[in-house]
């Protein structure tokens, strides 16, 4: 049985209590993008400043949510700030892979194709690995990432 310590790792609680890059950026030039988790009422607002090549030069986060969604957003902001689109894309795929492998095994889909997981260091984000043992919370952990992807897509459109 997964215990609470699998879910609420100390580093997660640290990001929850002391969120990084909290706040807003002036729009424009920043892009404002909202994400909702309809299941639990989590909402996240990302402010994204892009560099000339479409990379994320600066990022701020506001909104409200549980410790998992908030800490995931905080860790994500630290991980993607100053990164190129390609690097962010790799990180996103690596994070999503970490979040979805267990989903497949839970459903007993042994033949499911493993998601193409790029070989990148996730750093602090590794702490969220335990979330997959609590399937209903996976959406909390991926909310910030889906919102970021939406923002990058909007910016490049």
């Amino acid at each position: 049985m997964p215990g609470l310590e699998d879910l609420y790792r100390e580093i997660i609680l640290d990001h929850y209590r002391n969120p990084r890059n909290r706040g807003e950026l002036e729009t424009p030039p920043a892009l404002r993008v909202e994400g909702f988790n309809p299941l639990c009422g989590d909402e996240i607002v990302l402010y994204l400043d892009f560099d000339a090549n479409g990379g994320v030069a600066d990022i701020r986060i506001s909104g409200q949510g549980c410790s998992i969604s908030q800490s995931s957003a905080s860790m994500m902001s630290a991980a993607v700030k100053g990164k190129s689109v390609a690097e962010i894309d790799e990180l996103t795929r690596a994070f999503k892979a970490m979040m979805s492998i267990h989903e497949n095994t839970l459903e007993g889909a042994e033949t499911a194709e493993p998601i193409d997981a790029p070989d990148v260091k996730l750093g602090d984000l590794e702490a969220l690995r335990g979330v997959v043992k609590f399937p209903v919370r996976i959406k909390c952990a991926t909310l910030a990432w889906n919102t970021l992807a939406q923002g990058i897509e909007e910016a490049s459109a």
Partner: protein
């Protein structure tokens, strides 16, 4: 602490509910989410099992014996529901999938036949999405106008402008009890005001019908919707009560078998009430299960259910306030007479998902989220709440377990 007389021994009641004897994470389960769905007594499980084991057959079709028995059993269930609601006739009891489908049936059936662009439908700020979205759909389709009854600072309907809101309205559709705040609304005053204004009244009885005596005639409502699974019955079965004159005048909602009298190449004529609104093979086992739930609740007595919940509500509010003081905020009215056993709360500034996750480790089941009432959440200025809710099988030990688990939750997040 004042203690209301409790006619029901919740602890002894648990023995009739098989699920309540199981353990979660190695601890006896503490089920405090009956506003989402109730547990089922053995009597209901047995009735459904018996149907499948001994009389499983389609209803209103076969001439053989077990088909007749199944049909009888189903229609007995309808009569039980009729009497449970104090309705005049079984024709007024329409079986649906759930309360959501029942409300959609009224919006799509009555609404599309009777509403035109600019017509006003009055709802309240405390409605469940099931009593909002079907009307939004008619806004998009027909161009009706929605008006909203506001709330006061205790989460009660603010009726000071009710007559103005109802002026020219065609429909008033409100909940009898909020699934978030626990507020019990003055239904009779609302239906009286609607009738005076020339509007029909629709009552969402999801949270009220399972927990107190309901008499649709005394309520003065034209339609009442509720779900079976919140009143000890199975999922997949709900009820729409409708006044016979209104149902007779309404076009059918879903078309198919059972709801027809005659079908020709160039058209069809509808069956009599209530079958006119029950297209296709009905959820027979679920209807029989609902009938068994009604019989079971009749045996307990709905007055006793309400008295039990008043006593537990009093205990819950005083226990949580005594133990946690300003650390906890319980939404909804403070008066016991105006509220049911639903407790949405904020605790230590923690997100409800985090609260319910830790409570789960202590085998305490509560709901966390927006409770399908996002407009209300917005009004309260919060994204979500944790919600504990009680029923006939809960006791003060369950509330003590909740308080102990909250204690542990607070300690965990302030480490």
């Amino acid at each position: 602490m004042a203690v209301s007389v409790d006619p029901i021994d919740g602890t002894a009641m648990k023995a009739q509910f098989p699920l309540l004897s199981r353990e979660v994470h190695g601890k006896p389960i503490v089920y405090l989410d009956s506003a989402a769905t109730s547990q089922k007594p053995l009597a209901v499980l047995d009735a459904m099992d018996d149907y499948y084991r001994t009389i499983n057959s389609n209803v209103h079709r076969g001439v053989y014996m077990i088909a007749e028995e199944a049909t009888n059993r189903m229609e007995i269930a309808r009569a039980l529901v009729r009497d449970f609601l104090g309705a005049r006739s079984s024709s007024e009891i329409i079986f649906t999938k759930n309360a959501t489908e029942a409300l959609n049936l009224v919006a799509q059936g009555w609404g599309r036949a009777n509403l035109v662009a600019g017509d006003v439908v009055v709802l309240s700020h405390m409605e469940h999405h099931a009593n909002i979205v079907p009307w939004h759909m008619l806004v998009a389709e027909i161009g009706i106008e929605l008006r909203w009854i506001p709330l006061d600072n205790e989460g009660r309907l603010d009726l000071t402008e009710l007559d103005t809101l109802l002026n020219g309205a065609k429909v008033l559709s409100v909940t009898a009890m909020s699934n978030v705040l626990g507020t019990m609304n003055p239904v009779r005053a609302l239906t009286d005001a609607a009738r005076k204004a020339g509007a029909i009244s629709i009552i969402d009885g999801c949270q009220s019908v399972p927990h107190s005596v309901t008499n649709v005639q005394e309520l003065g409502a034209d339609f009442v919707a509720f779900s079976g699974h919140k009143m000890c019955g199975p999922t997949g079965i709900g009820v729409l009560y409708g006044r016979e004159e209104l149902l007779e005048a309404m076009p059918p909602f879903l078309g198919g078998g059972e709801m027809i009298r005659d079908v020709r190449l160039d058209g069809f004529t509808t069956n009599d009430l209530p079958w006119k609104f029950e297209a296709g093979t009905p959820p027979i086992a679920e209807i029989i299960g609902l009938g068994a739930a009604v019989e079971w609740l009749n045996g307990v007595g709905m007055d006793n259910v309400r008295a039990h919940e008043i006593a537990l509500t009093e205990y819950t509010i005083s226990t949580l306030h005594e133990r946690f003081g300003d650390r906890i905020r319980i939404h909804g009215p403070s008066s016991l007479a105006e509220r049911g056993g639903v407790f949405s709360f904020d605790f230590d500034g923690l997100h409800p998902h985090d609260i319910s996750q830790v409570l789960d480790q202590h085998a305490v089941c509560v709901r966390a989220g927006h409770h399908c009432a996002k407009p209300l959440m917005k009004l309260l200025g919060i994204g979500a709440t944790a919600r504990a809710s009680v029923y006939v099988y809960n006791d003060t030990a369950d509330i003590d377990a909740l308080a102990d688990a909250l204690d542990a939750t607070g300690a965990f997040f302030t480490l």
